[in-house]
């Protein structure tokens, strides 16, 4: 999808986390360090920004795909 000014157009979305599943692999924090961090105590994901700007959509989808435990869910806004 391309908008008129040539920039890629991404859907509006928010992030839902299933904390109980997190295994602390840290892939999300590597994919999008502006959005995800890890609790230094147990490595469990910390969401820095539940409603990131839509241009972060590809990075968040990548974090969702790389997460080995199904902790990250990307929900498209209605």
């Amino acid at each position: 999808m391309q908008s008129e000014d040539g920039a890629a157009k991404h859907p509006e979305f928010h992030i839902k986390l299933h904390h109980d599943r997190c295994v602390g692999a840290g892939h999300c924090a590597a994919c999008a360090p502006d959005l995800f961090a890890q609790n230094p105590r147990d490595g469990v994901v910390i969401l820095l920004s539940p409603n990131p700007p839509s241009n972060r959509y590809p990075a968040v989808r990548e974090a969702e795909a790389q997460c080995p435990s199904g902790t990250i869910e990307v929900v498209l806004n209605p």
């Binding site: 295994v23 602390g24 692999a25 840290g26 890890q38 609790n39 147990d42 080995p68 435990s69």
Partner: protein, 408 residues
């Protein structure tokens, strides 16, 4: 005559690497093409399912209705040696949630991105020192012994905080416990018992003098054992696992990774010409070599459907990470070692789901440190013996090469 094993529709498992030592058994391609699940016959005549497609392996490993606990009815034992020892490994590898989650989270804080950044300069220094020693001694040398194995042993010592007083003991105990084709079943049992007794001594000494929590073992004592979250025995099993899982896997991957490049000089030339390929090259060797080649053993705890086919409660399953990593519908020309492969990182070598490898950031850190340096410092590195003379660990739970004689 023993008929079950001759039934071609339910072939024997495990299978041999008849297509080449760097390729999985060729039957996997056929199984993957045939359907989502393949029924196989184990050594004891029992049946199990193989999952071979990447998508299905991922989905299966995420399913909450599977168990990694050998005590669960129907858990498939790969070989007699595995059956003899696997129930005595009381670690997070063979636990299910919620117990698994509780114990794993005692350790995950040790493997965060920040911790890895603190570890990086020390690992890089170790690699340089080991290569210095190789150069000082001069060629030829067995690079498994002088680098591939020495590095992870030093790193695991750094991580846990207590050195093994005798590395050769650690190596032997680890090897004896993971020879899946061993005929003398006592060897594995004895090695396991001896290693647990040794580690018990390490934990006991740390309990007596836990310091200020400056290393992993001291933190485990202060934060988990003393407040009563973890028993001494549980801690011993945990540290035992970290000692062997922390060195054996990475050692084998470093050895095979070196061999990948020596066998594919055009790929090595690409890496030397363009060091930004390093990260992807590491992912590609992880995909290509899939060193935990018999993983993962599971049993269904209720009926589940994979790829439209049913696995019944109590049936054993091997979700083959090594087959998933060569799935041609995901990885184009999957049997080629290609460091420019755009989706190399989609491999499942560190498994998937709750048992995703805890130490993977350390493994990646060590691999990057090695391959960032090795061919720069030894640009003429090559095999000192013909490839055909190399001995591979087909009998071991973690695949690799026994010795890798090189010269430069």
């Amino acid at each position: 005559m023993n008929t079950p094993n001759t039934d071609v529709s339910e072939p024997k498992f495990p299978l041999a690497r008849t297509a080449g030592k760097l390729d999985p058994p060729p039957e996997y391609s056929q199984f993957r093409a045939e359907g989502p699940l393949k029924r196989v016959t184990l050594w004891n005549g029992k049946k199990a399912w193989l999952v071979t497609r990447r998508h299905d392996v991922r989905e299966f490993m995420l399913n909450p209705n599977i168990s990694a606990d050998p005590e669960t009815e129907g858990y498939p034992a790969l070989t007699p040696a595995r059956a003899a020892t696997v129930k005595s490994y009381k670690t997070i590898l063979t636990m299910d949630p919620p117990g698994h989650t509780k114990f794993r989270r005692m350790l995950t804080g040790e493997f965060t991105a920040q911790r890895m950044e603190e570890l990086r300069p020390r690992v890089e220094k170790l690699v340089d020192e080991l290569i210095d020693k190789m150069i000082e001694k001069g060629p030829p040398c067995d690079i498994v012994e002088s680098l591939a194995l020495s590095l992870p042993i030093s790193v695991v010592t750094l991580l846990i905080g207590v050195p093994f007083e005798d590395d050769s003991k650690l190596i032997k105990w680890s090897a004896d416990q993971r020879d899946v084709l061993a005929e003398d079943l006592e060897v594995g049992r004895r090695a396991h018992a001896e290693m647990l007794a040794y580690v018990d001594g390490i934990v006991a000494r740390t309990e007596a003098n836990p310091g200020k929590g400056d290393n992993m073992l001291e933190r485990l004592v202060l934060e988990q054992i003393q407040p009563g979250h973890l028993t001494r025995q549980e801690a011993v099993h945990m540290i035992n696992l970290l000692y062997f899982a922390g060195h054996e896997t990475t050692a084998n991957q470093i050895g095979l990774g070196i061999l990948d490049f020596l066998q594919n000089p055009e790929q090595r030339a690409k890496l030397q010409a363009n060091p930004t390929l390093l990260r992807n090259a590491i992912e590609e060797m992880l995909r290509y070599n899939s060193i935990t080649h018999f993983s993962s053993s599971r049993v269904a705890t209720s009926d589940i459907v994979i790829g439209g086919q049913k696995i019944r409660a109590g049936e054993g399953v091997f979700a083959l990470l090594s087959a998933a990593n060569r799935d041609p519908t995901v990885f184009a020309d999957p049997d080629k070692f290609d460091i420019e492969r755009s989706n190399a990182k989609d491999h499942l070598t560190f498994s998937f789901g709750v048992h995703h490898c805890l130490g993977q950031p350390v493994a990646r850190l060590e691999l990057r440190a090695v391959f960032e340096r090795l061919f720069k410092r030894l640009p003429n590195l090559r095999l000192a013996v013909p490839f055909e003379e190399l001995q591979f660990k087909e009998n071991m739970f973690v695949y690799g090469v026994n010795k890798l004689p090189v010269t430069w």
